[in-house]
C-alpha cells in the first residue's frame, strides 16, 4: 500500500524522538509520546509466542508510564548506565486514516561505568500509532524482545 512520504517522515521523526528521550536521559518526556489511554509492554518473545501474559514492564495508562519514570528516578537502586537505541526500517502493517499498525526491529546497547558498550536487548516493536493534535503518538507500544534472558537488570524502558 503506497504511503504518503510525509507520513513516513513523521513516523521516522517519532521514532528518532522516542530514542532520544531514552538515550539522552530525558525520561520525563517519554510518557508524552503516548496518548493518555495507552498500553506499553516489554515482553519476552517466549511469552509472546505462547500467549503467556507476563511482561517485564506493563503500563496500562500514561499515568503508569509516569510511575515507571518516578520509580527509576526516585526509588530504584542501580548502577549508572546509558542506553543507545538503533531502530531499523519500520513496516506499516495496516492503516486507517487515524490508526497505523507499525513494526520495527530495534537493538538497545547499554554502557555501564567502567565497562564497554554491550547489547542489552534486541527485538521488535509492535506499535499502534495514532494522529493527535500534537502529532503522532503511541496508542500501543509492545516491545517483544528475542528469547527471554536479560543481562541482570533492565532499568530504563526499551
Amino acid at each position: 500500500m503506497p504511503i504518503d512520504p510525509a507520513l513516513r517522515d513523521d513516523i521516522d521523526a517519532l521514532y528518532a524522538d522516542y530514542a532520544e528521550a531514552l538515550d539522552e536521559n530525558q525520561l520525563e518526556r517519554w510518557p508524552d509520546l503516548f496518548v493518555e489511554e495507552c498500553l506499553y509492554k516489554v515482553v519476552p518473545r517466549e511469552n509472546w509466542e505462547r500467549n503467556l501474559p507476563i511482561a517485564l514492564m506493563l503500563c496500562e495508562s500514561r499515568r503508569m508510564l509516569q510511575d515507571r519514570v518516578t520509580a527509576v528516578r526516585k526509588t530504584a537502586v542501580y548502577a549508572p548506565r546509558s542506553f543507545r537505541h538503533l531502530i531499523g526500517q519500520f513496516r506499516i502493517q495496516a492503516e486507517t486514516p487515524e490508526r497505523l499498525r507499525v513494526t520495527a526491529n530495534y537493538v538497545v546497547l547499554q554502557t555501564l561505568v567502567d565497562d564497554l558498550t554491550r547489547i542489552q536487548n534486541a527485538g521488535k516493536y509492535v506499535d499502534l500509532i495514532v494522529r493527535t493534535p500534537e502529532g503522532l503518538r503511541f496508542k500501543e507500544k509492545i516491545c517483544v524482545f528475542d528469547s527471554v534472558l536479560v543481562p541482570n537488570s533492565l532499568i530504563y524502558p526499551i
Binding site: P53, I54, L56, D67, T70, T75, V150, S153
Partner: protein
C-alpha cells in the same frame, strides 16, 4: 558415576573458616572455582531436593521442558502413565545434550547424533545398526540396552511442584522440609491446580549464594527497597517473622502489610518517602487471598528455590549456577486455574514489582553485583553477619540475619568447611 576420577575436593587447601563462626562469612566462598565444583557435587547432586518445574508446565503425557539442576542440564517429562520423570539431558552414548527444542511433546527421545532412542523414563530402547548392517559391525554381543539408559533423578511432587534428587537415599519431600516449612509451602501450594502466567529470566554476575543471602535477609528489605517501604508493602516495624527448619537450610520470611505512614521504624529509614504517590494506583491494590495476616511470604528451599508470594504475585524463582561468579535466576509466574479474571489481571499487573525490571527486584539484582564487585578483590576478607545476634534462631521480627547464619551453618556441614 564411576570412580575413575577421585572425588573432587574443595580447594580449601589450608583454608579455615574465619574466627567468629556463624557471624562471619569468608569472601573466598564466592569466587573459588574449587569450592564451586564441590558445591555442584555435594549440594546440587547431593542430598537435596532441587526444584525443577511445575506440573502445570507438563500437563499432558509426553509434555517435556528443559531446565537445570545446578549447572547440569535436565529434561522434565510426563510419561504416558502420567508419571513425572527428570532425566539428565545427556545421551548415554557420547554425551550429547540431546534435547534442544523445548517445550514440546514426545513419545520418546532420540539423540540426533546416532539416533539412540530412549523412552520417557530414560530407558534405552534402540541403537541403530546395533546388529550391524549386512552382518557387519554393530555393537558387541554383550552390549545391554539396560546398562545404557539416561541418568534418572529421584522425583518428589507436592501439590503441583516437582523436585528432583540424585542422592541414593532421600527422605520424603515432606520430611525434607519439616513441619514448619511444609506449612508455609502448603499455604501457596494448597492443592488447587496452577496455571503458568509466564516467564522472566535474568543473568546475574554474582555468586549464587548471594541470592539466598538476599532473600534470607529481611533486614535489607525495609531499607534497600524504597518502593516497598514507601508503600508499606514491607517494613521493619510491621508484624513479621523469620522461621527456619531445624537444619536452617530452608527458611521463610513473613510480613504483614502496614500503612504508608511514618512510624517508629520509619524514623531510621532514610529511604522512606511519605510523600510518594502512584499516578495510577491500580498497580497497588492487593487483595487478601491467603488465610492468616501475612501479606508477604518469601520461602527459600535448599538448594535452588525461592517461593515468592508478595501481595498477589506468585512466582517460583529457580537458581541455575553458571560458574562461581554467575547464575541465572529463572522466574516462573503462576496463578490458580480458577482465578477470576480480575485476580488474574492483578497478578499480571503486580509482576511489575518483580524480575529484571521489577520496581522491587531491580534493587536486589543490582546489589548482588555490587556485592560481587566488592568481594572479588578480597579473598582473604570476610562479611559480618551479626544482626539479631550470632546464633540461629527463629524470630518474630525482621531485624535479624539469623536465616543467613542458619544457611551457612548447614552449608558448612555439607561442604565440610
Amino acid at each position: 558415576m564411576d570412580d575413575s576420577a577421585p572425588r573432587l575436593q574443595p580447594e580449601t587447601d589450608g583454608r579455615r573458616w574465619p574466627e567468629g563462626g556463624l557471624a562471619r562469612v569468608p569472601y573466598w566462598i564466592y569466587t573459588d572455582p574449587g569450592i564451586y565444583r564441590a558445591e555442584q557435587e555435594r549440594i546440587f547432586c547431593g542430598r537435596s531436593w532441587a526444584y525443577v518445574a511445575l506440573e502445570a508446565e507438563v500437563p499432558k503425557p509426553g509434555d517435556f521442558i528443559r531446565t537445570y539442576v545446578g549447572e547440569k542440564p535436565v529434561v522434565v517429562v510426563r510419561d504416558l502413565e502420567g508419571g513425572i520423570n527428570v532425566l539428565l539431558n545427556r545421551c548415554a552414548h557420547r554425551g550429547v545434550e540431546f534435547c534442544q527444542n523445548a517445550p514440546g511433546n514426545a513419545r520418546e527421545f532420540m539423540c540426533p547424533y546416532h539416533q539412540w532412542t530412549y523412552d520417557l523414563r530414560g530407558n534405552l530402547l534402540a541403537v541403530p545398526f546395533r546388529r550391524g548392517v549386512r552382518r557387519q559391525g554393530g555393537m558387541p554381543e554383550d552390549f545391554q540396552l539396560e546398562e545404557h539408559g539416561l541418568t534418572r533423578f529421584k522425583v518428589a511432587r507436592r501439590h503441583g511442584a516437582i523436585f528432583a534428587s540424585l542422592a541414593e537415599e532421600m527422605p520424603s519431600f515432606e520430611d525434607y522440609l519439616g513441619p514448619t516449612m511444609l506449612k508455609y509451602f502448603d499455604r501457596v501450594f494448597d492443592g488447587r491446580s496452577l496455571t503458568v502466567l509466564g516467564y522472566m529470566r535474568q543473568r546475574i554476575e554474582a555468586n549464587w549464594k548471594l541470592m539466598f543471602e538476599n532473600i534470607k535477609d529481611p533486614y535489607h528489605a525495609s531499607l534497600l527497597h524504597v518502593f516497598l517501604v514507601s508503600f508499606g508493602l514491607f517494613r521493619a516495624d510491621q508484624p513479621s517473622a523469620v522461621e527456619m527448619d531445624e537444619s536452617g537450610m530452608h527458611s521463610a520470611l513473613v510480613s504483614m502489610r502496614g500503612e504508608q505512614q511514618a512510624t517508629e521504624g520509619t524514623a531510621e529509614m532514610k529511604s522512606f518517602r511519605a510523600d510518594f504517590k502512584l499516578a495510577d494506583p491500580r498497580l497497588l491494590d492487593p487483595v487478601r487471598e491467603f488465610p492468616g495476616n501475612a501479606t508477604v511470604v518469601m520461602q527459600t528451599i535448599w538448594p535452588n528455590l525461592i517461593v515468592q508470594q508478595q501481595s498477589n504475585t506468585l512466582a517460583m524463582r529457580q537458581l541455575v549456577t553458571r560458574g562461581p561468579t554467575k547464575f541465572d535466576l529463572m522466574w516462573t509466574f503462576f496463578g490458580y486455574e480458577n482465578d477470576p479474571p480480575e485476580m488474574r489481571q492483578r497478578r499480571i499487573r503486580q509482576a511489575n514489582l518483580m524480575g529484571p525490571s521489577g520496581f522491587v527486584s531491580v534493587d536486589d539484582g543490582e546489589i548482588m553485583e555490587f556485592s560481587q564487585h566488592g568481594i572479588e578483590a578480597f579473598p582473604r576478607d570476610q562479611g559480618v553477619v551479626e544482626m539479631g545476634g550470632r546464633d540461629v534462631r527463629n524470630e518474630n521480627h525482621m531485624v535479624t540475619e539469623a536465616a543467613i547464619r542458619g544457611f551457612y551453618r548447614h552449608y558448612r556441614a555439607v561442604m565440610g568447611l
